[in-house]
Structure formats: C-alpha cells, structure tokens
C-alpha cells in the first residue's frame, strides 16, 4: 500500500499464505476484511502494479507475486 492507502489499511505490506487467482479476487478479499480499504482502493486515481508493472482491469496473479496499490502520485 502506497501513500494514503497505507494509512487507510493500517499496514503497508503483508504476505498472504495463498495468492488469490486474480487481481479482482484479491480486491474482493481486501474489501471483505475492510470495506473502508475496499472503497479507498476503488477511489479516483488509484493504480495497481503487479510485479512492478502497471496493470489495468483484471489480471491473473501468479503464486507469490507482488501486488502494489498506488495512491495518486506526487513528486518534485
């Protein structure tokens, strides 16, 4: 979880014993645990990176893959 998403989640990083088959299944799992986090993940400007590459829509997740939820970005 990056940016404000880590504050909403109350954690930055965690490992799941079993990798959900798809990104949508992972989202559903996280929303079920915390509806507030589920809503934040579906918020405007939130992007997702799987294995450090931006993805759009649903994708299959390989076992143990790293999934990052990225809040709107701001540098400089």
């Amino acid at each position: 979880m990056f940016g404000r998403l880590a504050d909403v989640a109350g954690w930055r990083e965690r490992s799941l014993a079993e990798t959900p088959a798809t990104l949508f299944a992972l989202r559903a799992l996280l929303s079920e645990e915390s509806p507030a986090l589920g809503a934040a993940l579906a918020g405007k400007g939130v992007q997702v990176a799987v294995a450090k590459a931006i993805v759009r829509g649903d994708v299959a997740l390989a076992a143990g893959v790293e999934v990052a939820f990225l809040a709107p970005m701001s540098g400089g």
Binding site: G3, L70, A71, P72, M73, G75
Partner: protein
C-alpha cells in the same frame, strides 16, 4: 541518461558543475531545482515515499522518451526520498541540448511529469499534524500538455 534516487541531501551546484563539464558540442544546459517549502511554518518536514525498483524504472522510461523527443545530449535527474527539511533540495533536473529551446522544453516536460505522474507519495508534517499531498488539477493539466 542518469536517474538517481537518494535519501541524502545533495548540492545542486556540484551536480550542475559535473553535468556541464566537457560539453564542447552541447551549447545549452538547463537545470531546475525544486526546494522543500516551509509554507509559513506550516511544514516542519516532508516525507517522500518511493517504490524502489518501480519508481526508478518509471522515471528512466520517461526520461528516455524525453531525451529522444528533444534530441538531448544528456539528462540527469536526482530525486530525494525519505525525510526532507524545508530549504533542502528535493529534485534536480538537468538537460543538455545543442540549442536552448530544446533544453528548456525538456526540463519543463520532465518537471511536469515528476509532479503528477512519477511514483512518489508526499506527506507534509506540521504543527497541526500530517497530510498527504496529491497532485492538483493544475498539475494534471500541466502534464497533459505534453501527451
């Protein structure tokens, strides 16, 4: 092309001297230095989060496209992450080209990109607590000018 992420303070003058050295054919070097603002005492420190292995690759991808678009001779981007005090430099961008306009435009484009699309997350800590800074509509519009 060099992209460097660092948690240590840096000296923009030293970076400029190194970047400009030995450029008999370059003609134009433009630099931009972004400095953390205190905002009338409302900001005591900035916390900038990066995603190692992702943030650097994304910036390299954009810098490489900018280099090609403006036929740059060289690009240097140095970006802080971690804790930053007001008055310290956060970002340094240098572009080298045969003529000034390409160097100016490339530096402008890289900064517009870094403000709203580079993978950093910025939190301001002040006397009233902490708040996340997200790109403004203006930042988004600035970046869109180059698409």
């Amino acid at each position: 092309m060099t992209v460097r992420l660092t948690t240590e303070p840096f000296d923009p003058g030293v970076l400029l001297a190194e970047f400009s050295a030995g450029r008999a054919e370059t003609g134009a070097v433009v630099t931009f230095t972004g400095i953390a603002r205190a905002s009338d005492g409302q900001v005591e420190r900035l916390e900038l989060e990066a995603y190692p292995g992702f943030t650097d690759t994304e910036i390299e991808r954009i810098a490489s496209a900018t280099k090609a678009r403006f036929s740059l001779h060289a690009v240097l981007i140095v970006h802080r992450h971690g804790e930053i005090a007001p008055g310290e430099a956060i970002v340094f961008v240098a572009t080298a080209a045969a003529h000034r306009r390409a160097a100016f435009q490339a530096a402008d484009q890289l900064m517009d990109y870094l403000k709203s699309r580079a993978p950093f997350w910025k939190k301001e800590h002040g006397p009233d607590g902490a708040r996340w800074i997200e790109p403004t509509d203006q930042d988004m519009a600035d970046a869109k000018r180059w698409d």
